[in-house]
Every structure is written in structure tokens, then in C-alpha cells.
């Protein structure tokens, strides 16, 4: 009887003294945020949520390839709270607070929109909640701010733009002019600015014919297409994504927009199957990293791509890959922190410390948390051109670029790096 009392007291004491987060055999509550509705849902949010469902189910069943085959996060099953990213940045801040303060999530993985990431980062810091941005691209997050609890396991828009510029320079020798069509907010502005700067560094005297920046989700682009056709630039760069990219292809296709000028679509991989008929041969498509058609043939990619396609009857796109990568990155950090913490669930601080400067493998290859003081990932990237083979769209002339070539060094802002050191 005395033994039972001691056991009960020990149990109570253990529960009171346990660190924040779940015990190793309990569950880890993860907030997942992505567009479930709105124009960004179908091309990004839903594929990302599908990836989260697939990867988390596989992890909870211990079916992922080694070293990800331990159940859930360090033996604790993963439980998710899904939040729709649709709405304003203010709405997202409120939803984030709800996740942390009402749902008591242990950590958050989410956010596609760069605007939302910029709004969430300081709030995550204020609430001391470990948050991993899985998709948004603006480099400003870790260039203009310093965070303890905020991470991003996907590369920034700088990599996409610099990679696109390197590709275009090689594949379009003698090009003299460029033009841009990008959305008028952080993502579009940063993408164009990095691309234009890179081109100017590599091709002195290159002319910028026109820079179009319509508002996000504008939907009607006839005037912009006319302006671009009239400008007659050799290359048109666009970081359009979501329904905007689809509308651009539907409206620009019949007008021969990308027949006259070479289109460089840095997020084009998301439409390559759905709108194949509208994409002319020779269009340069990006996948925001080595994802989708550019993913390496490794065990993680075989597991992920095959399992995802079997479950959702569609191949995963880059947003799916980025979500999978984000979850695997957090799992690696969690298990590292768990081991360092003597098998007890890590605190948010311990989890963050474990992810800083970490390297891990995913379906897209090696991910290194190398910049942003260890909070921002870099990866290699790849670009290719479309070519119709037997009526089916394929990617040819694939070129890969090592991470160091397309990302600035730690502590250097993208714009400064491109201006001062890139390719000099």
C-alpha cells in the first residue's frame, strides 16, 4: 500500500515537473496552416495539406524510411489542428494566437503567403512558440529580423530568382531585354527585384522593357499581356502563383505571350500538368527548389511521391514537397532535442536550438539550415524547359545549381550579395 502511495505521488510530481510539450509517449499537437479555401487552395494549400496528412499518417504508423521510421515525433504520435490561411494577415495573426493560446499546440508548421509569414514571425516570437514556415518565399523574414522561435525549412525567393537568371543566361545567349509580371506584394516585388538585379550583374547593359505589378488575385490580365507583347522583351519573368498564374496562362496562351518571348515561370511546376495545353515548348519552369520533376531519385522521394500519388491520384507538387520537408525537419530536430533532454519532450527553446544549423535529408534532397543564423534553409535548385513529347509535357535541358551558388552567405542580404559578390 505504501508502495502504491509512493508511486502515485511520484506520478503527480512527474506530471507537475514535466517540461512544456507532450511526454514522449503522449501526443505532439501540431498546428498546420495552409490555404484550404480561396484561389491559392487548389494549387498550393490543398496539395500541402494532403502532404501533411500523408506524411503524418506514415510517421504515426512508423512507415517512413529510415531514419524517419520512429513513430510520430520521438515515439509520440502527432495530432494536428488544421487552420485555413485564407483571409487577411490580421485574420492569420488572430488564428495563430488561437492555435497557441486556445488549442495549446506544441508547435506550428505553416504559411504559404509571404505577407502572412512577415505578419506571423513577430507574433510567434512574442508568444515564444516554435514556428516553421514551410513555403513562403520572401527573404526579408531573416534578413530584416532576428528570431529565436521562427524557422523556415524551404529556400527563399532569392534562390528561385537567381537560379532562373543563371538558367536564362546560359540557355538564351545573346539576350538583350527582360520584362516582368509579378504580384504587387512582398513575394512578387522580391522575386522581380532579385531576378532583375541578377540579370543586370550577369548581362551588363541588359534592358528592362516593362515591369508589371498587378494586385494579387486581380484575375484579368489583358492589358498587362498587351503591354508585355508590345514591349517585345526576350524574356518575361513571372513569379505569379495560384489562380493568378492559371488565369495568366489561360489569357496569355491564345495571344501567344510566351511564343514571342521566353516565359520564365518560377512557380510554373504547379500548372505543368493542369494547363499543359497552354504552355508552349521552351517555357522555363521552376519548382521553387529540387521538387516535383526536379526531385532527386532518393529513398525519401520514392516513398513520398509514390505514396502521395497512390493516395490522392495526383503527383505531389512543390508545395507538397515543402510541407513534407518541413515535417521531416521538425521530426529530426525533435528527436535530436529529445535525446539531448534525456528522453523527455523538448521545450520550444530546446527544439529551436536543435534545428538551428541542422542538416537533414528529405524528398527534395539535402536541406541545410545554413543562413539566417541557422534558421533559414538553403538547398540546390534546378530549372528546365518544357517540351511536348507525344502530346505530353516534359521537362528537358535540366540544369542544377549548388546551394552556395544561388543563395547568399549567412549574414548577407540577398540584394547586397547580388549587387556586390554574385558572379563577380
Amino acid at each position: 500500500m505504501q508502495g502504491l502511495k509512493q508511486l502515485a505521488l511520484a506520478g503527480i510530481a512527474a506530471s507537475v515537473l514535466a517540461p512544456i510539450g507532450a511526454p514522449a509517449q503522449g501526443t505532439v499537437k501540431v498546428g498546420i496552416v495552409a490555404f484550404i479555401s480561396g484561389p491559392a487552395a487548389a494549387p498550393f494549400g490543398v496539395p500541402a495539406k494532403n502532404a501533411a496528412d500523408f506524411v503524418i499518417d506514415e510517421l504515426n504508423a512508423g512507415k517512413a524510411p529510415k531514419p524517419y521510421n520512429r513513430i510520430g515525433f520521438g515515439g509520440s504520435k502527432i495530432e494536428t489542428v488544421i487552420v485555413d490561411e485564407a483571409g487577411t494577415a490580421t485574420t492569420q495573426v488572430t488564428e495563430f494566437r488561437n492555435l497557441v493560446q486556445r488549442h495549446n499546440v506544441d508547435l506550428v508548421i505553416g504559411y504559404i503567403s509571404s505577407g502572412n509569414c512577415l505578419a506571423i514571425a513577430p507574433v510567434a516570437e512574442e508568444l515564444k512558440k516554435f514556428t516553421n514556415f514551410f513555403d513562403c518565399g520572401t527573404p526579408r523574414i531573416f534578413e530584416d529580423g532576428e528570431y529565436k522561435y521562427v524557422f523556415r525549412t524551404s529556400p527563399t525567393a532569392t534562390m528561385d530568382s537567381v537560379g532562373a537568371a543563371l538558367y536564362v543566361k546560359i540557355k538564351k545567349p545573346g539576350l538583350k531585354s527582360i520584362a516582368g509580371l509579378n504580384q504587387n506584394y512582398a513575394w512578387g516585388q522580391d522575386s522581380w527585384s532579385d531576378f532583375e538585379l541578377s540579370m543586370k550583374q550577369m548581362v551588363p547593359g541588359i534592358q528592362t522593357k516593362t515591369v508589371q505589378m498587378p494586385k494579387l488575385f486581380a484575375g484579368q490580365y489583358n492589358a498587362e499581356i498587351s503591354a508585355l507583347l508590345g514591349a517585345g522583351a526576350d524574356v518575361i519573368h513571372s513569379s505569379f502563383w495560384d489562380g493568378d498564374l492559371e488565369a495568366l496562362m489561360l489569357q496569355g496562351g491564345p495571344r501567344g505571350l510566351f511564343n514571342k518571348s521566353t516565359g520564365v515561370l518560377t512557380t510554373g511546376e504547379t500548372i505543368m500538368h493542369k494547363l499543359a495545353a497552354q504552355i508552349p515548348d521552351g517555357t522555363v519552369l521552376g519548382a521553387r527548389g529540387p521538387f516535383g520533376p526536379y526531385a532527386p531519385d532518393n529513398a525519401y522521394n520514392r516513398w513520398f511521391a509514390k505514396g502521395y500519388e497512390a493516395r490522392f491520384q495526383a503527383p505531389p507538387n512543390y508545395a507538397s514537397y515543402q510541407m513534407a520537408q518541413a515535417i521531416l525537419g521538425v521530426k529530426t530536430a525533435w528527436e535530436k532535442a529529445l535525446a539531448a533532454n534525456g528522453g523527455k519532450a523538448p521545450t520550444n527553446e530546446q527544439l529551436g536550438a536543435a534545428l538551428e544549423h541542422m542538416t537533414f535529408e528529405g524528398p527534395g534532397g539535402t536541406v541545410r539550415m545554413a543562413i539566417g543564423k541557422g534558421h533559414q534553409a538553403i538547398m540546390e535548385t534546378a530549372y528546365g524547359m518544357t517540351k511536348r513529347v507525344g502530346g505530353k509535357i516534359t521537362i528537358v535541358n535540366i540544369q542544377r545549381y549548388p546551394a552556395e551558388l544561388v543563395n547568399p552567405p549567412d549574414g548577407v542580404k540577398s540584394a547586397d550579395w547580388i549587387k556586390n559578390s554574385f558572379r563577380k
Binding site: 516593362t210 515591369v211 484575375g219 498587351s226 503591354a227 508590345g230 492559371e246 488565369a247 491564345p254
Partner: protein, 298 residues
Amino acid sequence: MNEIAPVLIDGIIYSAWLFIAAVGLTLIYGVMKILNVTHASFYALGAYAGASLTGAWLARGYPPVLSYAVLLGAAALVTLVLAPAMERGLLRFMYAKDEVVILLITYALFLILEDVIKLIWGVNPYYVAEPYALLGSFEAGGLTYPTYNLILVGLALVIGGGLTWMLRATRFGKLLLTVIHDPEMSRAMGVNVGRYYLVTFTFGSFLAALGGSFTAPTVSVVPGLGVDVIVLSFAVVVIGGMGSVTGAALGAAIVGLVRSISVHYVPQVELFVIYFVMAMVLAFRPRGLFSLAEPRRI
């Protein structure tokens, strides 16, 4: 000339699209004094029905040229299913309430319909690109334009001309003007005001659905499609004057041309220019360019 032609053509195409999308909003406000936020829902429903039914039509191998009739039929179908039920089932009980209350009710209906759309069609995009490319292209100002854009311009002219003729030259239109001017006196003279409200709400909603269904071939039809359109439609209606069909036409023409000029010559201000024009008009003519005279009741 080569430089000006694309500016004008783009302005006209955009104006036509905007007019089709916005004219139903001003018609309903003019007659019923309802700032109808469900206009955005009918636009989206028209787009979804247009994309789905036209897609099914083409998938069955029926004549592609009739897909334009299917787009028209899709707009009519969603309107006839929903608009009369909405007006008879809910709105008619609210006419005695303040305009703001009715605005909030239509906003609530808009939110409900957004979810209904997701329940029916899900969140994946719908495409029906064939009607856009079917009629080929024409060359103007050195650029290529799909001939489909001329359908939009023609449709806008037919709607604008038809509405003007109906209001000025038909018995129905003249009685409608009496309802607009004074519903109480019209009732006292034996006019069935309720019927006019029903017809106006249904026809105004049909115009929104028509705008959506004829936009469907040019965009990816996704949830939230109507939101930006309602904002632009409000800008057009406010510039032209609430309740004026002529005002809506002028408002759409101003917005379309100003936007086109800014895209071609000063793209940096494109985001802001429409609302700048709206602010300027409101500063000098607070009730819009073609606001209807308000009778003062003693």
C-alpha cells in the same frame, strides 16, 4: 496609332467585362435600395455553373460553338434556382428595415453561399478554356486578341442598350421607374411593387451570373472568385452614381480606360489609380456622376 490602339482596346475590353459584372448591382440598388453583396455569390455561381456545364457539354462531344449558349443557360439556371427563392423567402420580409440591416443580411447570405460553393464544387479549380480560343483571334494595333473579347463587348452593349430601351420604351420599364421614384405611391396606384422587386432582383442577379459564366473561360474558377469583383463593381457603381445604368456604363468606361492607360504607361500606379479616380469623383460629386435626383418628402 500603334501605341494608342492597344490602350483603347484593352480599356474597352476591361470596361465591357466590368459593366457586365456591375450593372446588376446598380439595377438592384436603383429599384430596391439594396446594396446586394450576394452579387459576388451570383457571379461566382455563374462562373462555376458555366465552367461545369460547358465542360460537360464539350466532354460529350456536342458542338463547341453552342458552348456560348451553354454559358448563357448556366447563368440562367443558377439564377432561377436561387434568386427568386432568396427574394421571396427572405429579402421581402426585410424591406421595411434600414438599408444597413439589409446590407448585413446580404453579406451573411454571401458568406453562406461561399461555403455552399465549396460544398458543391470543392476547392479544386475548374477550367473551360475552349470557348475563349474557339473563335480564333483578330489583329489590332500590332497585337493579337482572342475574338471572344468581342463577345464580351457585344454582350455589354446588348445589356446596356436593352436595359435603356426597356426602361424608356416599355410599359414595364415605365412602371419600374414609378416604383424607383416612389414605391408607396406606386402601390396606391395599383402597381404590384412586390412583383417588380422580384423581377428586378432576379434579373440583376442573372446579370451577375452572366458576368461570371462568361468570365469562366478566361480564368481558373476557384473559391473566392467573386470577392475582388464585388469590390471593383462597387467602385464602378459609386463613380457612376448608385442606381444609374448610364452611370454604371460611364463608371466602367472610366475605370477600364484609366486602368489600361496606367498599365501601358505608368504600371507603378495601377494598383491605386482606380480608387484615386473614385476618390476624386466622390470629392466633387459625392453621389456619383449620374446619381438619380432624390425627391424630398415633406
